[in-house]
Amino acid sequence: MATVKIVINKIRQSKNREGAESGAMPVKWLLHWKNISNLDKKMAEDILSEMLKSIERMYAVKEGPWKNTLSFFHPNLKDLKKPTVCASECLGLSLYEDPEKFFFVLFPPKLVVEVDSNYSLLMNHLGSYKKGNFIHFEGTRYRCGDFRLRLGFASSVSLRIKAVFMEIEYLPISSIKTAEPIMEGFISLLKLLMSQTGIPGNFVCHDPKYAEFELPDQYSSMHTALQYSYLMTQLI
C-alpha cells in the first residue's frame, strides 16, 4: 500500500507542474486484458472483479455507468459478384463522452472522420452502406484522483466477443506526448496490483499511431474513436 501511495502522490505532483489545458480533452489510453485462454463469462467477471479491487486500493470512487458502441458498415452492393471500388468495411462509433457526434474509421486508408450524430439518418437516405454487427463497450466509471477510469466488458452476441478492458483518462493534460510518462507510471502501478491477484494474463495497450491518421498531439474524441477501433481489431 505504501508503494501505491507514493506513485499516486507522484502523479498528483505532475498535475501541478503541467496544469490543465482549457478547451481541450484529457488524454485517454485504452487497455484490454489479454488472457492466454479463451475468455468465458465467469472468467471475464473474475478479472473485472479483481480490477475493481485493484483500483479500490487506489481509493477510486464510483461515478456511474457509461457505454460506447462500435458498428460495422458494409457496402450495399447491387450485384455481390461484381467487383466494386469501395471500402469493404467502415467502422462507426458513438461515444458516451461526445453524444452530439459520430465517428467513422477506415483502415486502410487510415482515416478518422467526425460527423453529427444524425449522420446515420443520412447514411440511411444514401443507402450505399448498411449497418451490420456491433460491439458494445460498457461498464462503470470511477474517479481516482486526477484519473477517470472506465472499466467494462466489450461484448457482441453476434460476433461472440467477450473482453475486459479499461479506459484511463488523465484529466489535467490534453497533450498525448506530455501525458505519456504519467500514463505509463499509472499503468505500471495497475500491472503491479493485478500481478498480485494471480489472474492469468496481463494488460495490453495498443499504439494507434495517431500521426498516420493525421491526428494531432492534442487529444480529441477522434483519438478515442481510433483507439476503440484498434481494440476491436484485437478482439476479432
Binding site: 472522420v113 460527423v115 443520412l122 477522434m222
Partner: protein, 218 residues
C-alpha cells in the same frame, strides 16, 4: 425535409434586391463563399445510385464542411397546390477530410462549383428562412477555385429555403410564399423545376428602390 423556392435576377438589380431584403429581413447580411462538390455513388453501390453534396464554407478563417443529401420531392395533389417544393434533405457537419472519406466509400466527383454572394437568415412565423443571392461559378480544372467562371454571366440565382417537418411543412410553405410575394415586383420565385426567368417590372422596381435610398442603377 425542407421547403424551397428559386428564381433568377439580373446582376444589375441585385443591389436593389439587397436593399429590399435589408428592409424585409431586419438582420445583417451574411457573405456566402462556398465551394461545392457534387458526388455520385459508383456503379453497383447501393440498390439505386445516390448523390450528395459536400459544401466547404471558405468564407470563414477556418473552412467548415457540410455533407448534404437532397432526396425525393413530395408529390400528389396536396404538394401540387403548394407554391414551394417540399423535399427530403438531410445534412451533417463533417470533418475536413470529408472528400477523401467519400472517395474511399466509392463516390465519384461529378463536378464542383463555387457559389459567391450573400444571404439573409431570419425567422418568419415558425419558419427559419434563408434567402441566398448567388453567382454560380463552374470550376474548369480540379479544385481550381481561382479560375472559376460564372455559369450564367449577368444573372444570379436566388434561393429561398426553410427546414420543415412532416407536421409543419404547410405552415412553413405559407410563410415562404408570403415572404416571396414581397419580392415579386423584382423577381419571380417558384418551384425549382418551374423557374421562369426575369420579371418585366424588375427594372422599374429596382430604379424605384434605389431612388428611395438615394442611389441609382444603370
Amino acid at each position: 425535409m425542407e421547403c424551397t423556392m428559386q428564381g433568377v435576377i439580373e446582376t444589375q438589380h441585385v443591389e436593389a434586391l439587397e436593399t429590399l431584403l435589408n428592409g424585409l429581413c431586419a438582420v445583417p447580411k451574411e457573405r456566402v463563399r462556398v465551394h461545392e462538390f457534387f458526388l455520385k455513388s459508383g456503379p453497383n453501390l447501393g440498390s439505386v445510385s445516390s448523390e450528395l453534396q459536400l459544401l466547404c464554407d471558405i468564407g470563414q478563417s477556418t473552412p467548415s464542411w457540410i455533407v448534404r443529401h437532397i432526396g425525393g420531392v413530395m408529390r400528389g395533389p396536396g404538394a401540387d397546390q403548394l407554391s414551394v417544393v417540399v423535399r427530403t434533405m438531410v445534412q451533417s457537419s463533417i470533418s475536413k477530410n470529408a472528400l477523401r472519406f467519400f472517395y474511399y466509400l466509392g463516390y465519384k466527383l461529378e463536378y464542383e462549383t463555387l457559389k459567391t454572394g450573400f444571404a439573409f437568415n431570419f425567422q418568419r412565423g415558425s419558419a427559419k428562412i434563408s434567402i441566398t443571392v448567388i453567382t454560380v461559378n463552374k470550376i474548369p480544372k480540379l479544385h481550381a477555385i481561382d479560375e472559376a467562371v460564372p455559369v450564367t454571366p449577368g444573372m444570379q440565382l436566388v434561393q429561398v429555403t426553410a427546414p420543415a417537418t412532416a407536421d409543419n411543412y404547410g405552415e412553413v410553405a405559407a410563410s415562404i410564399t408570403s415572404f416571396c410575394d414581397h419580392l415579386s415586383p423584382l423577381l419571380y420565385l417558384s418551384k425549382p423545376s418551374n423557374t421562369t426567368g426575369i420579371v418585366p417590372t424588375a427594372e422599374a422596381t429596382a430604379a424605384s428602390l434605389m431612388s428611395n435610398t438615394g442611389m441609382k442603377t444603370f
